[in-house]
C-alpha cells in the first residue's frame, strides 16, 4: 500500500516536472508581435504588395517562437520578438507605399485627360466667342446696309444735325394738313426704319412758304407735323419717340420768288436721331 502511494507521488512529480518544462517562455512583446502579425496577414495590401517582407517577418517571428520553445531567457525572446515586430511594421509600410504608387499611373492619366478636356473647353469657348463676334459684326453690317438702302429710298440726306428725310408738299392734300396716299406710304417706310432701329427717335418739323399770314402759316406747319406724328403712331410708333415742331414760314430752303421755290418751302422735315436717341433742335 505504501509502495503504491509512493509510486503515485513519484508519477505526479514526473508529470509536474514534464508539464513545467513543456511551457515555453512567454513575454508580452512576443504576444504583441503575434497579434501584429495576424493583423498584417489579414491586410490584402500586405499580401498583394509586401508578401516577401511579410515572409521575412514571419521567419523572424518563428525564430522568436523557437527561442521561447527552447526556454531561452526573456531578454533573448524579447530581442527576437522586437526584430519580428519591426519587420511586421515594415511590411505594412511597404504595402502602403506600393498601393499608393500603384494608384498613381491611372490617376495621373485621369488628371491628364481632365487637363486636356479643360484645355479643349477653353479652346471651344474662344472659338465660340470669335464666331459670336463675327456673327454680330456681320449682322451689324447687314443691318446698317439695310438701313442705308431704306434711307436712300426715302432720299434721306446727311446733315450737321443728323439724317434728314424731307416730305415734300406733294405728299399732302393741297393747302391741307393731312397726308395723301403717297404720303402715307412714305410714312409707312419710315415706321419700318423706326421699328428696326428701336434706339432712334424722330423730330418732325413743319414749314410753309411765305404766302398768307404768318399765324396761319405757323398753324399749318404745326398741323402738318402733327399729321405726320399721327400717321407714325397709327403705324405703331410710340409717341415717346416722336417730337414735333412747327416753324411756319421760317427757314425757307429757297427764296419764295417762284411757284416752284414756294412748293419746295412747303415741306415737313424729319430728323432721325442716331442710336443715342438724342435730337438736336434748330
Amino acid at each position: 500500500m505504501k509502495t503504491i502511494k509512493l509510486t503515485a507521488a513519484l508519477m505526479l512529480a514526473v508529470a509536474f516536472t514534464t508539464g513545467c518544462s513543456s511551457v515555453p517562455t512567454t513575454t508580452s512583446l512576443l504576444e504583441q508581435s503575434h497579434s501584429d502579425y495576424s493583423v498584417a496577414q489579414q491586410n490584402a495590401d500586405v499580401s498583394n504588395y509586401a508578401s516577401l517582407e511579410l515572409k521575412q517577418a514571419g521567419d523572424a517571428l518563428n525564430q522568436a517562437d523557437n527561442a521561447a520553445q527552447h526556454h531561452a531567457d526573456a531578454d533573448t525572446v524579447n530581442r527576437l520578438a522586437y526584430i519580428a515586430k519591426q519587420k511586421i511594421a515594415l511590411s505594412q509600410e511597404v504595402a502602403k507605399k506600393k498601393s499608393a504608387e500603384a494608384s498613381i499611373p491611372l490617376e495621373a492619366q485621369k488628371r491628364d485627360q481632365m487637363r486636356l478636356e479643360e484645355r479643349n473647353n477653353e479652346v471651344d469657348a474662344a472659338k465660340q466667342e470669335t464666331l459670336n463676334a463675327q456673327t454680330a459684326a456681320l449682322q451689324a453690317q447687314a443691318h446698317s446696309s439695310l438701313l442705308a438702302q431704306q434711307l436712300a429710298d426715302l432720299s434721306a440726306k446727311q446733315t450737321e444735325r443728323g439724317i434728314v428725310i424731307t416730305l415734300s408738299d406733294v405728299l399732302f392734300a393741297t393747302n391741307q394738313a393731312n397726308l395723301n396716299p403717297d404720303g402715307i406710304r412714305t410714312i409707312q417706310k419710315l415706321s419700318d426704319i423706326l421699328q428696326q432701329n428701336l434706339k432712334r427717335n424722330v423730330l418732325i418739323e413743319g414749314f410753309t412758304d411765305s404766302t398768307g399770314n404768318t399765324a396761319h402759316n405757323q398753324v399749318l406747319s404745326e398741323r402738318r407735323a402733327n399729321s405726320v406724328r399721327g400717321a407714325l403712331q397709327l403705324a405703331g410708333i410710340t409717341e415717346r419717340r416722336i417730337v414735333i415742331r412747327g416753324y411756319g414760314q421760317s427757314y425757307p430752303v429757297e427764296p419764295n420768288d417762284t411757284a416752284a421755290h414756294r412748293q419746295l418751302n412747303r415741306r415737313v422735315e424729319i430728323l432721325l436721331s442716331d442710336d443715342t436717341g438724342e435730337l438736336v433742335s434748330r
Partner: protein, 128 residues
C-alpha cells in the same frame, strides 16, 4: 581531380580540418560585431537620406540611441550585446526609411487626388 587527389593525400588530416571549421564557426559569434555595426550604420544613413528624421523621428531616434549603446558595448568588449543592439538598430532604421518612403508616396498620390478634385470642380463650373 586535383581536389580529389588533395583530399586523398591529406585524408588523415580531414577530421582536423573539419574540427577547425567548426571552431572558427563557433568563435565567429564572439568576434567583434564590426560587420553588423557597419551594416546598421549604413541603414541609418540611408534612412536619414530618405527623410527618416522628418517622417519617422521616433524610429530614427531609437535606431541612433541603440547604435550609441552598441558602440559602447563594443568598447566594453561585450560583443553579443553590441551585435544584438546593432541588429535592432538596423530594424528600426529600415522601418524609419520605409515609413518615409510610404509617406512620400502617399503625399504624391494625395497631391494627384487634389489636382483631380480641383480640375473636376473647374470642369463642372465650365459646363454649367
Amino acid at each position: 581531380m586535383f581536389l580529389n587527389s588533395v583530399i586523398s593525400k591529406y585524408h588523415s588530416l580531414l577530421p582536423a580540418l573539419v574540427a577547425l571549421g567548426v571552431i572558427s564557426g563557433c568563435s565567429s559569434s564572439y568576434t567583434p560585431a564590426t560587420a553588423q555595426i557597419a551594416v546598421s550604420s549604413a541603414a541609418i544613413n540611408n534612412a536619414d537620406g530618405a527623410g527618416g528624421q522628418q517622417y519617422a523621428p521616433t524610429d530614427m531616434n531609437a535606431a541612433q540611441e541603440k547604435m550609441i549603446r552598441a558602440r559602447k558595448a563594443m568598447d566594453d568588449k561585450n560583443y553579443p550585446l553590441a551585435n544584438s543592439l546593432a541588429t535592432q538598430a538596423q530594424a528600426d532604421a529600415k522601418l524609419a526609411q520605409s515609413k518615409a518612403d510610404s509617406a512620400k508616396a502617399k503625399s504624391a498620390a494625395d497631391a494627384l487626388q487634389e489636382d483631380i478634385r480641383v480640375l473636376q470642380e473647374e470642369l463642372n463650373h465650365a459646363n454649367q
